[in-house]
């Protein structure tokens, strides 16, 4: 991990979506999909973003790319606020940041040849001549490990893993510095998933990419990330270096998540911590700490006050009244 300048800074970002109330009616309620998230992604690092469905992790990824407009808050890319950019400036900035989607079937236009799919970003940003663009496409296909003749074929001719390689080549075409990988390997078989994870790893090192790796699979996130952030109901509840999160988790939700992951070792069958109840509705999140109704440690204060995300020793941040971050000792400076 590098401790370079932050490339992406998210400051108290909120996003709410209206629910109910028909086509022209007024919204009857709001879903707080992202409810005050702040985080930093440093140059060259991979930040893993984990949480269960509906926790807001994909929304957060899209807010960072400004594919969605935040309701409040600020996103800085390389020190500049994305929200303050003009349409033209934003378009230029878009070259710097790309996304790889989960579904390698649904995210590629079935009527376009691979060369056009991969080269589309180049054409949109008017990069190079037609011939140069085609040369770049061939280079990209080689980079992601696809045969050269792939350029003239259609997406349906490829398997899931190969399609994900096409999606990655498309994202890399405009030479971005930052990539959001949103469940990029979730739909793939184990053996193919390993190929794509290795590819992302190699590309990151080769090209100096910064990565926001969004996934629900804790094993995959541990493998890929330098730092990890855990989301629950629109908020980050814990964030820190990978070893800290996996070896020394503090938030009860993080601990429950980790204990729920089946360990591929039959000698380590364990007693799991089982959560009671379902994820509460983000339309009416519980007061105080959103996790308190499912938490075995909840105190009165948890039902009343939202715990702030506070950073402690070793850059380990926790939002919990009962298990707060360990304090920075004098020795840590």
């Amino acid at each position: 991990m590098t401790s370079l300048a932050p490339l992406v800074e998210v400051r108290d970002v909120h996003k709410r979506f209206p629910v109910g109330g028909g086509l022209f009616g007024r919204a009857r309620a709001w879903v707080h999909a992202v409810d005050g998230v702040s985080l930093t992604i440093h140059q060259g690092e991979t930040l893993g973003l984990v949480g269960e469905s509906g926790c807001g992790k994909s929304t957060l990824g899209r807010l960072i790319l400004r594919l969605l407009e935040p309701t409040a808050g600020e996103v800085l890319f390389d020190g500049r606020s994305l929200l303050a950019l003009s349409a033209r400036e934003l378009r230029a900035m878009r070259r710097e940041m790309q996304i790889v989607f989960q579904d390698p079937y649904g995210s590629l236009n079935p009527r376009m040849r691979v060369a056009s799919i991969v080269g589309e970003g180049l054409a949109i940003h008017r990069l190079g001549t037609r011939r140069e663009r085609r040369a770049r496409v061939d280079e990209l296909l080689a980079l992601v490990g696809l045969p050269p003749d792939a350029a003239d074929r259609y997406p349906h001719e490829f398997s899931g893993g190969q399609r994900q390689r096409i999606g990655i080549a498309r994202a890399l075409a405009v030479r971005p510095r930052f990539i959001v990988a949103d469940e990029a390997v979730s739909a793939l078989d184990v053996s193919i998933q390993a190929q794509i994870l290795n590819l992302l790893h190699d590309l990151q090192r080769q090209l100096g990419l910064t990565l926001l790796f969004i996934a629900h699979d804790l094993r995959v996130v541990e493998h890929m990330s330098d730092r990890v952030a855990i989301m629950y109901l629109g908020r980050i509840v814990e964030c820190g270096p990978r070893e800290e999160i996996y070896r020394n988790p503090r938030h009860p939700y993080t601990r429950t998540l980790l204990s729920a992951v089946p360990v591929p070792d039959p000698r380590r069958r364990k007693q799991r911590m089982v959560l009671g109840g379902d994820l509460p509705s983000p339309v009416r999140p519980p007061p105080g700490c959103a996790f308190h109704p499912r938490c075995g440690h909840a105190l009165d204060v948890c039902r009343r006050d939202i715990p702030p995300l506070e950073t402690g020793r070793g850059g380990h941040a926790v939002a919990c009244h009962v298990f707060p971050a360990e304090r920075v000792s004098a020795a840590d400076g």
């Binding site: 078989d189 998933q193 390993a194 591929p264």
Partner: protein, 330 residues
Amino acid sequence: MTAVPIAPAPASSLLEVRDLRTFFELESGVVRAVDGVSFALDRGRVLGLVGESGCGKTMTALSLMRLVPRPGRIVGGQVWLEGRDLLALPEREMRAVRGEGMAMIFQEPMTSLNPVFTVGSQIAEAIRLHRRVSRRAAWARAVELLDEVGMPDPVRRAREYPHRLSGGMCQRVMIAIAISCEPHVLIADEPTTALDVTIQAEILDLLRTLRERHGMALLLITHDLGVVAEQADEVAIMYAGRIVEHASVLEIFERPLHPYTQALLRSMPGVGSERRDRLETIPGQVPDLLRLPSGCHFRDRCPKAISRCAEEDPALEEKAARHTAACIRV
């Protein structure tokens, strides 16, 4: 030659599958989705059937239930359940077997339930299909079952429609339907794949509790080796329509013999293990069943393949005590 059956199972075997073959005759050729699968399952035991997409694990399950979709067809083999060959039964008798002898739950609980009926009525309907009981008694039993599968507030939940329930709750309803007639074998096809990890843990715990309470045998179909390690007594690894290795769960994880099993285990990132920068991968793609290589179907992706692998169809043979593998290199 297809894989030979394992030695005849002991008389105590609840379910015994012998040389099961299910083919799809397509214009482009014959897809041998299940190509000579044999295994036995004893009362109260859990067999994990593991493999990647398209390896035939779901088709194996559907063949046991005789629910293979067209144009698929069971072309050979036997499925012995409590002394009867299910493949030889008339459809009417088979209908009784489904539910009472053997029941199945699926990966997508949301789409397996009928959206226009309440969950209680769907459970009650399943009961009345098999048992001559009044509507009222069936409803009461449905509420009882919802309680048994851990549904909070079962009386109220019975009157809800599936869309009002989360994925985890829908899977509980599916399990309630599956156990409503107390089957001796439960087939669970990727029962937790569509669920979040905390919900997955709850459903797996529920399956274990029910199994222990009712002495059901479980055929657990999954691609997740973590789930298998936690739940299964034995594991059968499938590749391209065949079982390539079968042993106890400890043997599979600690002494995997088949190169495919070995590669599968190494390609998986593990929690708490040392971070490896690179995962081992299996080169190539999940095979196209219409274009399988001759001899061993895995040989074009296998690091240990020799020329003889192209000529010989490896049989599933005992390579160690109670540990079979289909590989001439072992």
